[in-house]
Amino acid sequence: MGEKTLKHIKNALVMLLILGVTFFISLVLQDVLTMQEHITTVFVFAVFLVSLITDGYLYGILTAFLGVIAVNFAFTFPYFAFNFTIPENFFSALIMIVISLMTSALTTKLKKWQELKAEGEHEKMRANLLRAVSHDLRTPLTTIYGSSSAIIDNYDSLSDESKRKMILGIKDDSQWLIGMVENLLSITRIDSGNVKLIKSPTVLEELVDSVILKFKKRYPDVKLSIDIPDEVVIIPMDPILIEQVIINILENAVHHALGMTKISFTVKLNDGSARFEISDDGCGIEKERLDRIFTGYYDITEQSTDAKRRNAGIGLSVCATIIKAHGGSITAANSSSGGAIFSFTLDASEPNEEEI
């Protein structure tokens, strides 16, 4: 509601400003240059401008009427008095109103078209995502369905060892599916309508603790070194989503940094912003992949049949979406020593102003 009033005030101000300038120009035309025959043209132009800039039809038509009255009152004989008996006045009023209507109709159409186009892009991205996800789901589902039906149909003829192997495969691939679902849920959490991100004050140490526990549970053998500030740092964020970002980046290192022996995770504070950095000593990121690493998943041109590789794609795309929704920035680079460095920043300033 407040937004609507604000829009009206803005539109009214634009109209008054343009009318004021027009009035002044007309005065100059009449008194200094004595070219009053062009005054109507100037007002017609003003009507056109107002219809173009303001929203809807109201202000354009209003300008047309005010313009007719102004021209009648100030710039046609008798000066500074109303006289509605002159037929030219009606004619110029008609022209101004027609121009106002046509311009407003055109701009309104244009705005609608732009909205439709943006929506179309969004739809396209969604469709791409859906296609890519359903494609990726097939690989693990093949393992799960295939292995389980093989076990149940050949229960007695399979050796214990091969049954064990197949069950392990089922477990691994279900875990992959869980990760995929978590990522999709994160996207819908941000994307669902116009719901704004709910930031709550989160203690950095507790966030890191939660991340490490989850990560260690899944990858107990990966070496992870942590370096965070000693003091208590409270950062406003959606902790579940940021946790997802860090886990996605860590998992990406586990699966794609070939030759990696350890991951280091540091958080540094400066100037009211927190910089999270996750680096590994693996093979780094290929140059061609680097610029599209956060958007690749939505990009239908990237065709890869390797599902494991694609999941990394969705993971990093989700990271970028989450950080963007938090108003932060995320980057990927190769370090001089060879590994990859992912880093993102969050606003860590005390939220006193907005909350109280």
Partner: protein
Amino acid sequence: MNNNRYKILFVEDEENIRTFMSALLEANGYQVILAANCSEAKMMYFSYVPDLVILDLGLPDKDGSSFLSEVRSSDSTPFIVLSARSDESEKVRLLDLGANDFVTKPFGSAELLARVRTCLRNFCHSSDGGRLPGAKFTLMDMVIDYDARRIFLRGEEIKLTQTEYNIIALLSEHCGKMMTYSAIIKAVWREYPDDGNIKRLQVNMANIRKKLGLRPGNNKYIVNELGVGYRLQDES
């Protein structure tokens, strides 16, 4: 032997989940009673009087939380809630309704069994422990002396402030139960929770962890659940 086993009531409408859960629980020495909906759960609860209830929330006849609040009005039998929703506000609501813990679907067997053990053990101990004169609380190498209001770690005293002690004492009285921010704030400060005192609680908690020498990833006494609350645990 057979009659001596813990009885667990498992309420879940999905047959596949019922099947693997009852196999898992039976294999680990529990007696399992199954129910597929709210009314069945009520009937089973009052005829078998289980030691623990594992409750799925999305039931066909009624929301599972109505069963939880009905039991809570008379009994304190521990509840573990299975929830597919990863929404913190939902978790907080259920914990404040009286659930002892929650496990988010999908879960691994080890995780679930650990929660079951914790719930059962703490419920049995806390019913006789607590505030008796001379009562002491022991958790691994940490000892709380309630009468003296002092805490010892490996025999050495840890100097805590009044507030810090009150928080730890509260968590220890509900050991194994996930305590929400608002439950802790109401008990320790007797205030209605808002952003200000949640922050105060978080800072106090950070100081406690520092004094106990706990580092991220190695919080062996206190589990933190982001956006929900804290729990003192006796098994890592």
